[in-house]
Amino acid sequence: MVEIIFLAPFVTGILAFFLPKAIGRQLLVGTGAIHLILSLLLWKNRSVPIFENYFAVTPEGLLSLLVISLLFFLISIYTMAYLKETDLKSENIFTGSMLLFLSTMTMVTLSDHIMVMWIAIEATTLASAPLIYTYRTSASLEATWKYLLICSVGIAMALLGTVLITLAMDVGNVDAPLSFSALTGVAKDLDPMWLKAGFVFILVGYGTKMGLAPMHTWLPDAHSEAPSPASALLSGVLLNCAYLGIFKTHKIMHAAGLGDFSGTILIVFGLMSILAAATFILKQKEYKRMLAYSSIENMGIIAFGTGIGGLAAYGAVICMIHHSLIKSSLFLSSGNMLLGYKDRLIENTGDMAARMPKTFVAFFAGFAGISGFPPFGIFIGELFIIVGAFKTGHYVAAGIFILSMCFIFAGFANQVMKISFADFINKDDANTDPKKIADPAGTIPFKEKASLVWPQYILLLTSLILCFFIPDTLYQAIIEAVTAIGGGIK
């Protein structure tokens, strides 16, 4: 019974709305643990779902599912400590929405029917909207409104794309179940014109959700306004879920012999996202927005790699896994920074290396990892993508890619140095004497509890280990997933 993986958090999520705070927090961690165990069991023993027409266990789905489970479990431990430090008015709505969010994202990874996939992705929007509005400020209201409206319209485009694919079946006289696996099997008989149109709409639709430029405008707002654990989930897993929709459609296109068409579009959108991130990250004033733009960049990298195919497609999947691990750790660290500095502006932070040493280690290591430094996995992923791009003759695209990476690294590094080593001027002291630098001890009333830093360390450590040693089953799953879109290590 595979369906229990998303039904369990659904039930506990509903329960959490009505339970008192303390129980809700424990329910969050408990569900996270159960979810992780269930995912590992599914990984070991790939059982068949009860509703075979609607759900299926696929290699790419399993990969995403494992990432979601691991991330959610660690984030839930962090959340428990984080909620004790902050004072949320309606905490049960927050925990309930987190669990429903987990449930809907799990459903995305397991769905095989193209309409069920659409419903699940739309449901992730609805479940995560209350998370963004958690702080009840006018800015968070604006972010939620933008998120809801832009993503709903985007998802409506994806619905149209899905309908056009069914039209491709009608015109091509194909009678098959409306599932990704069945459609991949009969892809050659589908009408190519309607299939192409369907892919474009689906890419624009799910691309909105994934944060591909120019449909990315909701992403920085939503990520900066949501509480940090929610931002970590949004960036670490939600974007992957949307990518899964694009990936599966790309698979159909590849099977239909239209892989070049969809690949080229993916490359263009990927490069646009990387360029957009490079433009905006340079002058970013808020650290959470900076991280959000880095997510846009990484989604661009993943789309770019998927579009190129071959070795680059393998690199894209590696990037996807490691981006989730590293970026969620960065967002959790940004939660500590917000607790410590009480401000999201970079100019009001500083000297983190001395004041919050544990968070600093996690944040700085995360920065190194996300910028593509060895020994973290994104280094390998990006290397594969660049080599793959050169091998297939995409010289100009690879050039733009590398140049943008340099810009993004420069912008990111500049801000991280300010946060980590610049003098910290306490606003309250600065009011009386602008030159006065706050005294080294005791200006940050924030204690780095173990459960507020260990989740980040474990996430980074996982990325580090996966860089040197990939378990064989994991490796097989990645290869199996990318072979379907014409990728692999060759």
Partner: protein, 213 residues
């Protein structure tokens, strides 16, 4: 002979034109309700065999799209007594002109598409395209948040029309899923709308401009 579906859809096209020119929210809500009713009635007239379950789903769609959602929005604006203007970015005359051009363009495009399944119905494709683009137009060219939500619903109506008529593959269970999603989406948008109104005392989205680069 003109098919009854075409007669109904010609009224929808007229209502699209009307919606471009209207400045009042209550009128716009009625237009959206009418379009919802017609869009969900079309499957009764168009070919596919209706099972008992199919009838139930279609009636449920009709109730939700045509009555429940518009009624909720209508009651919401009555309750909070917010400004009833749609606050256009593009003026009404220009909007109507755009609407006329849109209908001509949609008809032209539909001729090119050449869909065998619905070739005997002249207006299905033009109406669907017109509804889609009109919805988008409202999202872009009106600042009032309720007008934007109505635009979103209009777009969904257009997609629903495409989905139920173009293809026999879209199963009812799936239609129902879409319906629930739309319902939940509009409800959550409604909650956010109320909060926008409470926080800013207005639903003019020009007030939502603090987050930008």
């Amino acid at each position: 002979m003109i098919h009854p579906v075409d007669t109904l859809l010609s009224l929808v096209l007229l209502s699209v034109l009307f919606s471009f020119g209207t400045s009042r929210l209550p009128g716009l809500i009625k237009v959206v309700a009418f379009q919802g009713v017609v869009a969900s009635m079309v499957p009764f007239f168009i070919g596919h065999d209706m099972s008992a379950g199919g009838v139930v789903f279609t009636v449920a769609t009709l109730l939700i799209r045509g009555i429940i959602i518009p009624l909720c929005i209508y009651l919401a604006i009555k309750k909070v007594a917010i400004r009833r203007e749609v606050e256009p970015i593009v003026g009404y005359h220009a909007s109507i002109l755009f609407g006329l051009g849109l209908i001509v363009g949609a008809t032209y495009v539909s001729r090119q598409l050449n869909l065998p399944a619905i070739s005997q119905y002249l207006l299905v494709t033009p109406t669907a395209v017109a509804l889609l683009v009109t919805g988008m137009f409202f999202l872009i060219a009106r600042r009032n948040a309720i007008a934007m939500v109505l635009g979103y619903i209009m777009m969904e109506n257009g997609i629903y029309l495409v989905g139920t008529t173009f293809s026999s593959h879209v199963r009812h269970i799936v239609e129902f899923g879409i319906l629930l999603d739309v319902l939940a989406g509009v409800m959550i948008m409604g909650i956010i709308l109320q909060n926008i109104n409470k926080t800013f005392d207005d639903v003019d989205t020009a007030l939502l401009r603090t987050l930008k680069e």
